[in-house]
């Protein structure tokens, strides 16, 4: 092999190990899901291994199901938008607070918010369920004592709005520390001269943030927004573990939970996989749109 040929092959050889790992851990399961989504695959097929090819029947059935549009997709999208906006705004506010603190208080506040981040999802979710317990929870007890709700309590887990309000609290609580710390790292790199120049020009705090800080940190915001969007679209445990979050056909499901319940609750792995493929495509589309807008602005 010529020197040139070797040089061309080198990057691929270096890339081979990670590509191999990605192939085994990611591409193979992904391909398998796509394959499953075009088959009639239930408990019996699971045991025998033989299954019937259906083409796009599973997808057609899904896309013509009003349940997808009125319940699951609506839940997924509205929840993700609300949760991402809340997480990023709150995280940014906390970062702005942190950047103005002295070293010792800053370390204390960062340690506190890290606890929220480090909380395992399952324990965190159960804490929220406990806080909002319909009979004994602190929120119910407080509201009952204040006379805001009547003595019998209110089953917020049965109400789509309140159900997702609790999920949003849970997600924002565990998601904002990441945004805060990332934005803080960005804020520390904004040159002081820019801020001072704007100050001399008579810009108030809001204008300084919006016209100086934000443009400089644009890539940072793009990254935390994309990541939060992806995370919030595929929220699973925080919904599945809530009372009523695991009931087939309930109006509380999002795409991820629906895919799981279709597969493992109803033993319909074909439909479950088709839902998972739709979720994946949706996430890919969002990521592409974000990446394009990010790279266009930076002239990359």
């Amino acid at each position: 092999m010529s020197m040139r040929g070797r040089r061309a092959a080198l990057p691929w050889l270096l890339l081979a190990p990670p590509l191999f790992v990605i192939g085994v851990l990611l591409l193979f399961p992904l391909g398998r899901i796509v394959w499953l989504s075009m088959r009639e695959y239930g408990l019996r097929e699971l045991v025998s291994g033989d299954s019937e090819f259906l083409g796009f029947d599973n997808y057609v059935a899904l896309l013509t199901d009003p349940y997808l549009w009125n319940v699951v997709l609506l839940n997924t999208v509205v929840f993700a938008v609300v949760a991402v906006v809340t997480t990023v705004v709150l995280g940014t506010l906390v970062a702005l607070l942190l950047v103005n603190l002295r070293v010792v208080p800053r370390v204390i506040v960062i340690s506190c918010i890290m606890v929220a981040w480090a909380m395992p999802v399952v324990s965190g979710t159960y804490v929220w369920i406990w806080i909002f317990d319909v009979d004994q929870g602190v929120v119910a007890q407080a509201l009952m004592n204040l006379g805001v709700i009547e003595e019998g309590g209110h089953n917020w887990f049965a109400d789509r709005f309140w159900f997702y309000a609790i999920v949003t609290l849970n997600i924002v609580h565990s998601g904002f520390p990441f945004v805060a710390v990332t934005v803080l790292a960005g804020l520390l790199t904004v040159p002081k001269e820019l801020q001072e120049a704007a100050l001399i020009d008579g810009a108030g705090p809001w204008k300084r943030f919006w016209h100086v800080t934000f443009p400089v940190l644009r890539p940072v915001f793009a990254v935390v927004t994309i990541l939060s969007t992806i995370w919030d679209f595929k929220v699973f445990a925080q919904i599945y573990l809530m009372p009523g979050g695991d009931v087939s056909g309930s109006e509380m499901l999002n795409l991820g939970v629906w895919a799981y319940i279709s597969s493992f609750g109803n033993n319909d792995y074909g439909t479950g996989s088709a839902i998972a493929v739709i979720l994946t495509l949706l996430l890919l589309a969002i990521t592409i749109v974000y990446l394009r807008s990010l790279f266009k602005d930076d002239g990359l």
Partner: protein
Amino acid sequence: MARRPLLTHAPLPAAALALVLAVTSCGDGGGDGGGGGDISATDTLTVWIMEGTNPDATGFFEEANEAFTEEHGVDVEVEFIPWADAQDKITTAMAGDTMPDVVELGTTFVPDFSDAGALHDVAPSIDDLSAYNEEMLEMGEIDDAVYSVPWYAAVRSMVYRTDVFEEHGAQEPENWEEMRETALDLAEAEEEMIAFPVPGDAQYSVMPWIWGGGAELAVEQDDGTWVSEIDSDGAREGMQFFTDLAMEDDLSTTGAVNWNEIDVMESFSDGDAIMALLGNANPKAIVENNPDLEGDIGVFPIPGQQEGYTDSFAGGSNLSVFEGTGNEAAGVAYVEHLTDPDWSVRWADETGFFPGGVDELQEYVESEDPTVRPFAVQLDEAGRATPATPEWGQVESENIIVGMQQDILNGNATVDEATESAADDIERILNGG
């Protein structure tokens, strides 16, 4: 120069390859499939046992397994699986080829798994199948094959606090109206307590009221299709009665909409509930949780709408051996070991369940224990099973009856609306829609 870095990377793909080989080779463990050879081929037997509403079972299995190891030279590893996760765990294990050798299956799941072909036919290995409870055995019978063996029977009846009843001069009610009035009186006398929790996430607490109203969950027609009677007048009357106890008479609590049978049991063992629909293993588990309640627990069969008894769900568990693990012979031996009269009676005594053997059950019907006999009477005279069709498992896993009950309790649907949509769903599933 170009080669050196390559060498340092070489171990990674090798390691990944080793990982893949290790993962795939797990699946080949049960290569010989069919017969499963003889017992000596097995070193360790893996057994999945359910846990949830029954008392702690670790001690029982330590001794039962020791006896089995002594006799057959095979070690047994028991893993406890919560009831709520059982189906997910079993199906994922089947998909990943990591099934246990022996599994406890709730009777309602048996037809589904038997039909799927995942289980080992035990008919050739067990001599006398007539020794077992017939209805439970039927759940796992397809033609001449038998895919599960009855282990213990469970039934739900009314469990109540004898001390509270005595204090307020209440009597065991003998029909629905008396039951409602008793609960109303007690609710008034004991304001801090829940007179009768009406759970939303407990389908077996719902079924009796449908049956009690004179309806069936689903009936097979001559042409082989199924018709659900959940939307019949009788079933609606039963559902109205049951849910009105919560909605109109306020005898339950708002949070109970999210409760399953375990939550109901916990409210009873916390001393909150006065009467509750509970299973025959619950009194022992309740005393285990809260020893103060010893001697204060009474039981009566669910009273009939006018007189007699209301049918209650008679379930329980069968033991099955998985096909294709290579340990089938040892698995069958273990099933025989647990279901033999000695160990099954001992299990029944320790848990409060009833043995799956016909002769063994008789003793309990004649028992003088006030927390045993009423359950045995319920099972003997007023026990009923869910429709014996493989598709019924899907009605349960899609939570059709739970959904109906919660829709009514949350005020999202009237009894008429909820029962109608439940009947439609059941017919769709059972008729292969």
